[in-house]
Symmetry: C2
Subunit: 305 residues, 2 copies
């Protein structure tokens, strides 16, 4: 595969402690970059940038490698891996963060391997905006498409850095509440107009079990549902898997047309629908291309009229 189809992702790599109303996993491998990579690697070459501590499970490294993820840019550092602990509410739509420990991410300074620098696609998954900027700055040529995700924490404590990096990206994927928070709006359409004025020409608003709204490169709106599921085990990482499926489709096809961006939203929704069916990336492991294509077809059936 040529460099133009390669997809670099930087973001958190984590060991989570996830508590849901019906179950709990104390050492759940996660982090935005891990979820993203597991959701993307079936479709295009993925190169991961991040940092882990000595406690990161070797089995997870093996899973990423088995999925085809390039780990040359994953730094092994002394100390503990980033940790997040959270508890989901009864309806699984909202959660409380109980603990966050940056650990090895506190002193992390990403260094992109030479083989990553020419990639055509770059996704700056959720992590400090300054780290996102550092990765973008190390690309040898400006990628064809740069995407970014962020969270309420960075809107609060690193707003200037976030605004600076936003001006340099093509696609923003962001939660509904965060889009309102970022812009100080109460209406999503007005928030989207403001955000598109800050840099990204394509904006994907993630709405959890309600799906996603995409303001495409032409400004026109596309609405995609989430797949209604009878059993949601763990919503952690669904947004990152969405981004992984979305970016991977664009990288694999190299087609940035409005029509293909819409398809990418559905591929993202497809990968997110798997994510929530298990803890960690359990439900993404071992999927065949046929499995994934059949699930994409369920979105076709769900929306056609």
């Amino acid at each position: 595969m040529e460099a133009k189809n390669k997809l670099v992702v930087v973001g958190s790599v984590a060991v989570d402690w996830v508590i849901t109303p019906s179950a709990e996993r104390e050492h759940s491998v996660g982090g935005a970059a891990v979820y993203f990579a597991m959701a993307a690697a079936w479709a295009c070459p993925v190169q991961l940038v991040g940092v882990i501590g000595g406690d990161f499970p070797a089995t997870a490294l093996a899973d990423l490698e088995a999925a085809g993820v390039d780990l040359q840019g994953l730094e092994r550092s002394d100390g503990l891996t980033f940790r997040w602990k959270g508890r989901y509410h009864e309806n699984m739509n909202s959660r409380d963060t109980l603990e966050t420990h940056l650990n090895v991410f506190e002193r992390f300074s990403p260094k992109l391997p030479e083989s990553y620098r020419g990639a055509g696609f770059l996704f700056l998954a959720n992590i400090q905006p300054s780290l996102q900027m550092a990765v973008l700055d190390q690309m040898s040529t400006r990628p064809t498409l740069v995407g970014l995700d962020t969270m309420n924490l960075w809107i609060d404590i690193a707003n200037d850095d976030l605004v600076a990096i936003l001006a340099r990206v093509d696609v923003l994927t962001i939660n509904e509440e965060e889009a309102l928070q970022l812009t100080g709006e109460t209406n999503l359409v007005r928030a989207a107009t403001k955000i598109r004025g800050m840099g990204p020409t394509t904006l994907v608003i993630k709405r959890g079990e309600y799906g996603a709204l995409c303001f495409g490169p032409d400004g026109a709106l596309f609405a995609a549902p989430a797949l209604p599921l009878e059993s949601v085990v763990d919503p952690t990482g669904a947004g990152d898997c969405f981004a992984g499926g979305f970016m991977a489709h664009l990288a694999a096809t190299g087609d940035l047309s409005v029509a293909n961006v819409r398809k990418a939203v559905i591929w993202g929704s497809t990968m997110a629908s798997y994510c929530v069916e298990g803890f960690s990336y359990d439900a993404l492991r071992g999927l065949s291309r046929e499995d994934i294509e059949a699930r994409y077809q369920r979105f076709v059936d769900l929306t056609r009229f």
Copy 2:
């Protein structure tokens, strides 16, 4: 138009006091049957059953008549019209009921005009289940399609009556939270399975600004978005307008196929999108068929991939 395409609706007829974060209307004509009728009458003949007091504005009667709604079944009673007062929260997605006065609905006993009794389509809009039952019982032949809407109040205080009428309807339109409340489930897919076991073969779950989910007559799922709007003036009646657009399309076409039920969901969504753009039925008044068809097309554009 033949009786088989006629659509009878029974439900509340109200004078509301609506407070939103940015505006307020003290005498806002509303009620489920009024919203339903205003959203349906452009597409098929609508016959309304309800009761008003001496305070009901003559202008609203004129509006209903101008829209073509048959008011022979609208009883004029001594006393005050049903009144509801509510306040919407900042995001317009939720509201508090401040006051409810049944007034003339307390002693209402619906008597269907002879010309209503052979209608092919019947919608039992939100009102006491016992009144819904009384109307259904007065139909001379079982209508081709019977739809029903309800609310949390009746789930709480008239559950037996509600369960009895549910067993006799084909379509239930219900809010997401109310679907969970009715079934004691926390998952919507499981709630839908339970509800479809209670009677309705078609179930439409209304999700406000997130659109609607329809479990069709074949059990297959259809997801429709709401139209993202830059300005929402007053969400009151949106669900009733949805039901009006939905039922009217089925009555006008007489086609109950799975494919046409999906189109009906989009027609419902189309009418709901108008409803929220003004207080009362302001934004529904004076629409041309061309206006409405153009807005339907916006749903096509919003969802195609």
